[in-house]
Symmetry: C2
Subunit: 447 residues, 2 copies
């Protein structure tokens, strides 16, 4: 087992022993999408207030720390920001009691370019603390003042580079900019006696979402000038910039992805969306070049069943290097078709490669080991030996966030029956990949 | 196999051959919660506009017809309304092209007290059509005019009796009432040039949600008086009642459950919530009274692992009638612990009872058949015979929406190892119940 690269430690603002900025990892570089040509983005940093208590969620853990596929929600948001290579620094404001947990998250998931500051008692105070750290007027701060600062929420994990670029570009032109969305419900104004006073015309109003971006000097000065009342009860940064910065705040239409994880149901939705996203590419690792082999028929059936999913096949680890490429393309689902052997050698090699790729740090990787057998004529015992082996080995690799299962596909002489068992095999593969549940690790399923 | 009771056919307004009102089924009667004593609810009907195209969802199927656990979303909403015994009639407005599909849904899921009308081109026109059918001034209408009418959305499936009663009671007092929720995002008003004009104070505004309720005469007259512009572009029924009915519209704080399924992520959330709700009760069917038996130890481990779930145990079908009671309590998860036998007799009896109970009409029922075996000393072959049997039988019962799996739990002499395999067994049971995925039906899992 290769040693993992040392995880970067977060820089703590106001702390002498802080690290130097770590260079972006290879994985980050691969993820970073190229900036559209012809636009030169200014020096950009981001501030992420993450001091909230999540009272609306109805759970004791603040929502930004709630696990989604066993990883805290805020880690997905950090990932979304850090894959944008032109965001130089990401300042996260967390409460003192969550500081150690946050450091642990940064280390475990190898987040880059993160600095931590202490959250204030309100959202505005947390943002202000983040801005102060970026202003460069703090003693020992390693951060330098950006031209533009993005403000985002820790609980909006699906933000895309596209909308970040739009708000930054508009902020450079106008001084401030923020994403908006159409209203889902009609907004009304109640009267003092709890009756309807009037309803607002839906077409004339929008929901103000995140991200927002500001010329740093505009928003920093606005925060310095604003009243305690603003800091305590305000919610809208654009409004502060308008009121104290005397600039125009441009509104940018955002996508539905920008939604904020607010209630428990939103955590469920986030988990389903993430599962769906990482299940869009299945790689079959096949130890034969024979195009007539049943493994290729399984591939065809899979393509047919999962018509929104990219299904590719590759030769196994020892014969080609193109598995490396698949892994660098962020494929999180592998079906290892064992044609020539019934031992675990190929699986072990694949698992080793996956581990080297660091893929399973961020998401659980599913590996399904497929065997074909006419078990109505061959005795089962020998395969059951395999079962016992796969259970022990699966337990071991589960620790590395790799979910291994076995799948025995009935391979009869009868063509019609074979087609049926291939189809059932594809259904089982689709289920295991879609659900990505660690509870079934090590099982030998039968199609 | 017992024949199922004939499914009721929906009454079609304006149709001569319409059925008589079917009496509520036994299941509905069991589900109906008693009305709080001391309040006499007026004659109430409900109108459900369901003519929307679901363009925000990004899928071709209108959202109210999208499947959630393989059942259309609107069926959950109808279920939520029809279990409230004091709602006499439910009028659903659907477009002509979805009329046949809607009739099929009512028949398949045995919905009661439903009448169908043709939807208009806008939401307001659909509601108006529903009101016209209830007004009793249509030729051949079997519906009678209610005192109060509830207006609800087809895409808000989690509405509770509690809030329905609150809006109805308030409507009786004020003339109109509607559920509201706090705003999730700040609402802003854009200027003509796409910049921020002003942001609204969040504390002074609310999101207007559904259900709403009205004195029938108030809302019907409002619709008769209102302009084409109102019918085309309006969204808010409370506003119409205020404007044309000259009454006050009372606002009632609703729970987070009232949210509207709007985007694809909301469908994911709905599915997760429904899965969670129907997995709150697990019944172990145990063919021994011996309290020291390992089956009872499995029960303890399950209670320990799933501490938010109610775990009960019962004797099998032939020795007691209390399984009937469990089924009438809407338990959708059964673990059949086969201590004395290794055949399928108990499972078959349980499946037959489930079928008679009609439980699986609305939700997939999970049945897990558990066997204990020291498979390190006993040969596997015999159990594999079972595997083959369970696969075939599971395929058959899947057609009835019953998801059957086998689970073999290793039963070694060593106490520590036994505890470990019981714990793994409990994890597998929890996974199968939670995921409720038909793709793994018929598998024999090993703990």
């Amino acid at each position: 087992m290769e040693p993992r690269p040392a995880a970067p430690r977060p820089r703590l603002c106001d702390s002498l022993g802080a690290d130097q900025t770590p260079s972006a990892s290879t994985l980050n570089a691969a993820r970073a999408e190229a900036r559209p040509a012809g636009r030169r983005a200014p020096a950009v940093a981001a501030v992420l207030p993450a001091g909230g208590s999540g009272e609306r969620m109805g759970v004791p853990t603040p929502k930004q720390f709630c696990p989604v596929l066993e990883r805290p929600l805020i880690s997905y948001t950090l990932q979304a920001l850090e894959r944008v290579c032109w965001i130089k620094d990401i300042v996260v404001a967390v409460t003192g009691e969550n500081m150690e947990a946050m450091k642990g998250i940064i280390q475990k998931y190898q987040h880059q370019r993160i600095s931590l500051v202490e959250a204030g008692v309100t959202r505005h105070r947390s943002i202000f603390n983040g801005l102060k750290a970026l202003a460069g007027d703090q003693p020992d701060s390693k951060l330098s003042k950006p031209e533009v600062v993005i403000i985002h929420d820790a609980v909006r994990p699906f933000v895309e580079e596209d909308v970040l670029l739009k708000v930054v570009t508009a902020a450079k032109e106008y001084g401030a900019a923020g994403a908006i969305r159409p209203l889902v419900s009609t907004v009304i104004s109640p009267s003092a006696d709890g009756c309807l006073d009037h309803s607002l015309e839906r077409a004339r109003h929008r929901a103000s979402e995140m991200p927002q971006a500001f010329l740093f000097d505009v928003i920093y000065e606005a925060y310095q000038q604003c009243s305690d009342y603003d800091l305590e009860f305000g919610t809208e940064c654009l409004q502060l910039a308008l009121k104290y910065g005397h600039i125009k705040a441009k509104l940018v239409e955002g996508s539905p992805d920008l939604w904020k994880v607010t209630y428990k149901r939103d955590l469920y939705a986030a988990e389903s969306i993430i599962k769906e996203r990482i299940s869009q590419h299945i790689c079959l690792v096949m130890d034969t070049k024979d195009e007539n082999h049943v493994g290729h028929r399984l591939e065809e059936v899979l393509k047919d069943e999962l018509n929104h999913v990219k299904v590719t096949s590759r030769l196994p680890c020892h014969t080609g290097r193109d598995l490396d490429q698949i892994m660098s393309e962020q494929c999180y689902s592998y079906v290892c078709v064992n044609v020539m052997t019934s031992d675990f050698e190929e699986i072990r090699k694949l698992v080793d490669m996956l581990e080297e790729s660091n893929l399973s740090i961020l998401y659980p990787v599913v590996v399904i080991s497929v065997y074909f057998l006419d078990y109505k004529s061959v005795p089962f015992d020998q395969k059951m030996e395999n079962l016992m082996q796969i259970r022990e080995y699966a337990k071991e690799v589960k620790k590395r966030n790799i979910l291994l299962c076995g799948l025995l596909i009935y391979y009869p002489q009868d063509e019609h029956k074979l087609q049926e068992s291939l189809r059932q095999g594809a259904t089982i593969i689709a289920t295991l990949i879609k659900e990505r549940n660690s509870g079934l690790v090590g099982q030998l399923l039968v199609a």
